[in-house]
Amino acid sequence: MGTLVAVLILGSLAIGSLVGVRRRVARGSTNPVDAPARLLAWAIGFLAADRAEWGQAMAGELEHIEKRSKRWHFSLGCLSAALLVPPRRADSGRLVVGLVAAAAAGCVGLTLYGLMRYPAVLTGHGTWPALATFGAVLAGLTLTTAIIVRRSAAGAVGLAGGVAVAAVWIVVGVTVVSHPAAPAFSWLLLALPLAPLTVGAAGTWRGMTGTAGRHASLVSAAVAGMVLFLVLATDALVTAGGPYDAGQLHDFPHSGLPDMATYAVSDNLGTAMALLLLASTTTAVIGAVGATITARMRHAPTSA
C-alpha cells in the first residue's frame, strides 16, 4: 500500500512536470481564444525549435478562418503536420527519442512477460492501479523526451547523463545492499544526488543557458528511470525474484499469492516501478537545481 501511495504521489509530480513543460513550450506562440486555437497552440509545441516560424505561420492563418468547423479541421491538420515534419537539422535527437521509445517498449514488454509467466500477480492488491500508473508514467516520460529533444539540443547530454545516473544508482544500490554493515560505503550515497547535479551542470555548460541544463536533466531523468527499471525487472524475472530477503519470507504467507516466486517477482516488479518514478523524479529535480546554480555561477540566462 505504501508503495502504491508513493507511486501515485510521484506519478502526480511527473504529470505536473509534464504539464509545466508543455505550457512553457507552447507559451508565446499565440494567444488562444477558442478550442481550435488552444489545440493549435498545443500542437505547434511539437514542432522542432528550428521550425518555430512555421508554428507562427499556422497560428497567423488560423486567425483568418472564421467558420468553427474549418478552424477545427485546420488545427487538427496542423497537429498532424507538427508531429510529422522533421527538424531541419539532422542531429542526435531522433536517435535519443528512438532509444527512449525502445526502452519504454522494453519496460512494457518485460512487465507483460512477467504477468504472463506469473499470472497470479494480477490478483494482488493494488496491481491494476499500479500498472495503470506505470503505463501513464512511461508514456509521459517518452512524450516529455520527444518534446524536449525536438525543441532543444539537450538529447545527447541527457542520454549520456541518464545512463550515468542509472549506473550510479545500480552501483550504489548493489554496494550498500551487499555490505549493509559497512559504514564506509554509506558515503557512496552522496553519489546519488551528485550525479544528476553534474548532468544539470553539464547541460547548462554545453547549452549556455539554465533552460538547456534543465532540458538535459529531464531527458536524463527519463533515461535513468527506464534503465533502472529494465535492469531491476530483468533481474527479478531471470532469478524468479530470488534471493528472497527476510522481509519477503515474513510477508509471503499474508500475501494471498500461491507461491514464493510469484510473490517475490510481484514485490520486485513493484519496487522497480517505484524506483522508476523515484529515480526519474529526483534526477529531474536535482538536475534542475544543478542547472540553475550553474547558470547563476556562469552569469548565463537561467531561462531561454
Binding site: 507562427q56 497567423g60 492563418e61 486567425e63 483568418h64 478562418i65 488545427s75 487538427l76 496542423c78 503536420a81
Partner: protein, 94 residues
C-alpha cells in the same frame, strides 16, 4: 506537391496565403504545410510576413523562387497520368 507548384506557377509574382493556397488545390493543412516546408527547405519557395491589424498575428505569404519556377515549369509540363494528380473534387463529382 505538383498541384501546389502548378497553383503557384500560375501567378508567379503573386504572394499567396497558406490557407487560400490549400483551398485552391484542395489540400488540408496537414498535407499542405509539410509540402510548403519541404519546398522552402529545397529553396524552391520563399516566404515573407505580412503584418496584420493590431492584436492579430502576422500572416505568412509564399511564392516560388527562380529555382522553384524552373522546377515547376519542368514538373507541370510533364504529362501526368497518375490518379493522385486528379483533383479530388473531380473524383467526388464522378
Amino acid at each position: 506537391m505538383v498541384r501546389v507548384l502548378a497553383a503557384l506557377v500560375a501567378e508567379p509574382s503573386r504572394w499567396r496565403y497558406g490557407y487560400d493556397l490549400g483551398a485552391e488545390v484542395d489540400l488540408k493543412s496537414g498535407s499542405l504545410y509539410p509540402i510548403l516546408i519541404r519546398l522552402t527547405d529545397r529553396g524552391l519557395l520563399e516566404a515573407t510576413w505580412e503584418s496584420g491589424p493590431p492584436g492579430k498575428p502576422p500572416r505568412h505569404l509564399y511564392r516560388l523562387t527562380p529555382a522553384g519556377l524552373e522546377t515547376a515549369a519542368i514538373l507541370t509540363a510533364e504529362p501526368v497520368s497518375r490518379p493522385s494528380a486528379v483533383p479530388r473534387r473531380q473524383l467526388r463529382e464522378a
